[in-house]
């Protein structure tokens, strides 16, 4: 009988760690090359921003390392592979590409699934997410030397945006476009601060959130985002209305907050930014499962999920060291039992322990198979939560 999980002793430096370090070095080196090339051999690189550049390079290493380690986990490795297989399945590529665009727009860009969790919660996430996206879209190309602005030679009333050293577009320096462009980070700070305030409000007022939240996981990211936005706004206030009062100090303070945030990216809640797109792969995996053979519960005989999903889970559990196999039973592996029959087996086992102590006799179910358990209350919020639960738990 195996308790917990059986793990084999491995080498001192696990191969996945070595692989993750190499991936990290590779991604960081690639970004370094792109910075050199994109800034035309650093000729457009702003030396004042060098600390930001190096912090992004470090974050790139950390993120790639953590992503690689995450992909090395047995369940993640299986679904990463399965997700791509499902996406590139022959005969479905065009449909999958269309579906990808639709899911990307609905889930990632519009945060519809978060809005369904709560409108205010969705709005909070939209404000923070779009504020950060806007800020990253502006600052990263500037920090890498991929984007810079210059006065147009011969006409000093015009400004020209240079992307990778090529002229992209021109605009008058006293126009509304210039005002909106040059204050892009101010608008992003407004969005982020509004979002952070709403998030803090929820974390202070909601009893459920209060019970579950952790400082490092839930408050630290909000504090960092607020600090970055506030010090950024202080810079604008300093040079716009205070003739640059305290500018150098605020600039250093801002750099510290930004660099701290970058360094925090691989470790805490921010990692979900890079992890979350896996949701799209899970969607394609389920699509393939629905189009193929179902798994039938080997107790009640009802279909409950895709055969592929059950077989993948058996493989994942084996790799993790779980031993749910049932070699002397026609079931073969506990994974072939649907969730309701698992609950029934659990109750049957406890009931059998009391046989002869509390009265009652074994009930003859008069069927070839044991009956499938049924929900006592299938009402909203009491039974299956959605269509997928209905499939998992079947009628």
């Amino acid at each position: 009988m195996a308790e917990g999980r059986a793990r084999e002793p491995g080498p001192k430096v696990a191969p996945e760690v070595l692989r993750a370090v190499l991936h990290g070095i590779g991604a960081t080196a690639l970004l370094g090359v792109l910075i050199v090339v994109g800034s035309r051999n650093l000729s457009h690189f702003d030396a004042a921003l060098v600390a930001y550049t190096f912090s992004i390079l470090f974050a790139t290493f950390g993120l790639t390392y953590r992503y690689s380690m995450w992909l090395a986990r047995p369940p993640t490795a299986v679904y990463w592979r399965r997700g791509w297989q499902a996406f590139f399945r022959r005969g479905f590529r065009v449909r999958n590409a269309v579906s990808w665009c639709s899911r990307m727009a609905s889930d990632v860009l519009a945060n519809r699934f978060i809005l369904r969790r709560g409108r205010l919660r969705g709005l909070t996430h939209l404000l923070i997410m779009w504020g950060c996206v806007l800020a990253v879209a502006i600052t990263f190309p500037l920090v890498f030397g991929w984007l810079h602005f210059r006065p147009v030679p011969g006409d000093l009333s015009l400004y020209e945006a240079m992307v990778f050293g090529f002229p992209a577009f021109r605009f008058p320096h006293d126009s509304l476009v210039a005002f909106l462009l040059f204050h892009g980070l101010v608008w992003s700070a407004f969005l982020v601060i509004a979002g952070v305030m709403l998030a803090l409000r929820r974390r202070i007022r909601e009893e459920g959130a209060v019970a579950l939240q952790r400082f490092a996981e839930d408050f630290m990211p909000l504090i960092l985002l607020f600090a970055v936005s506030l010090t950024g706004l202080m810079l604008t206030a300093s040079y716009t209305w205070l003739r640059g009062y305290g500018f150098s100090f605020i600039a250093i303070l801002h750099a510290v907050t930004v660099i701290g945030t970058f360094l925090w990216l691989p470790f805490g809640k921010f990692f979900h930014i890079f992890q979350r797109p896996a949701q799209l792969g899970a969607g394609f995996f389920k699509d393939v499962g629905r189009a193929h053979e179902s798994a039938e519960c080997r107790r009640c005989g009802h279909a409950f999920t895709s055969r592929m999903h059950v077989e993948d889970l058996i493989e994942v559990e084996r790799k993790l060291g779980f031993r749910y196999q049932m070699p002397d039973s026609p079931v073969e592996h506990y994974q072939w039992i649907c969730p309701p029959c698992r609950r029934a087996s659990f109750a049957l086992a406890q009931g059998l322990a009391w046989h002869g102590r509390r009265g009652g006799e074994p009930l003859d179910s008069r069927g070839e198979r044991p009956p499938a358990p049924q929900f006592v209350n299938r009402g909203i919020g009491a039974g299956p939560l959605d269509t997928e639960d209905s499939e998992n738990y079947h009628p």
Binding site: R299, R343, Q350, L385
Partner: protein
Amino acid sequence: MPVPERFEFFIDASRCIGCQSCVQACAECDTHKGQSMIQLDYLDRQHSTQTLPVVCMHCDSPTCAEVCPADAIKRTEDGVVQTARKPRCIACNNCVLACPFGVPKMNTRMNLMMKCDMCYDRTSVGLKPMCASVCPSQALAFGTREEMARLRPRAKPVNSFVFGAQLIRTKVNVMVPDDARKEVVDVTAAMFEPAIGHDVLDDVFEGGDA
């Protein structure tokens, strides 16, 4: 704040009277407002009124957390396996299918697995979970081992379960007779056994005089 160590959860499914108080009370919990995480099933609706309430058993080595590709399920230091962390859960359904007790639920619209977290908002401050506080037959009970020993002298708690070749230990206990020889409940061995109970049709067809 962690759940105080002296308080434990005790399940005795054969005491369940199917009143659904737990189902309704569960939906009042602040960590999953409006949605009940209790799984309350009829075991054999045609022949028996027996109902079985199942809450998360909070395994020591939770299969749901281990098979989660997004690393979204965490077990806190007090042994409570928390529901999926909302930013991480990718709604892949692995945990729902892998849980040996059939506990988690999948909220597809929200792209989120949801499950019992032992009413963490209440238990972490020393209160009983919603289900245990309203259960009239105390099929779901929460308290100290001493209290349970006093209230149910003919029963003892067990928290080891066998599934095939796998032994799973849990934070939540089930009640078995005090003279039960085995300290483990073999779940898979009972899978095809008939339920123990009183047939609901006995009185109709065998009562004669009625």
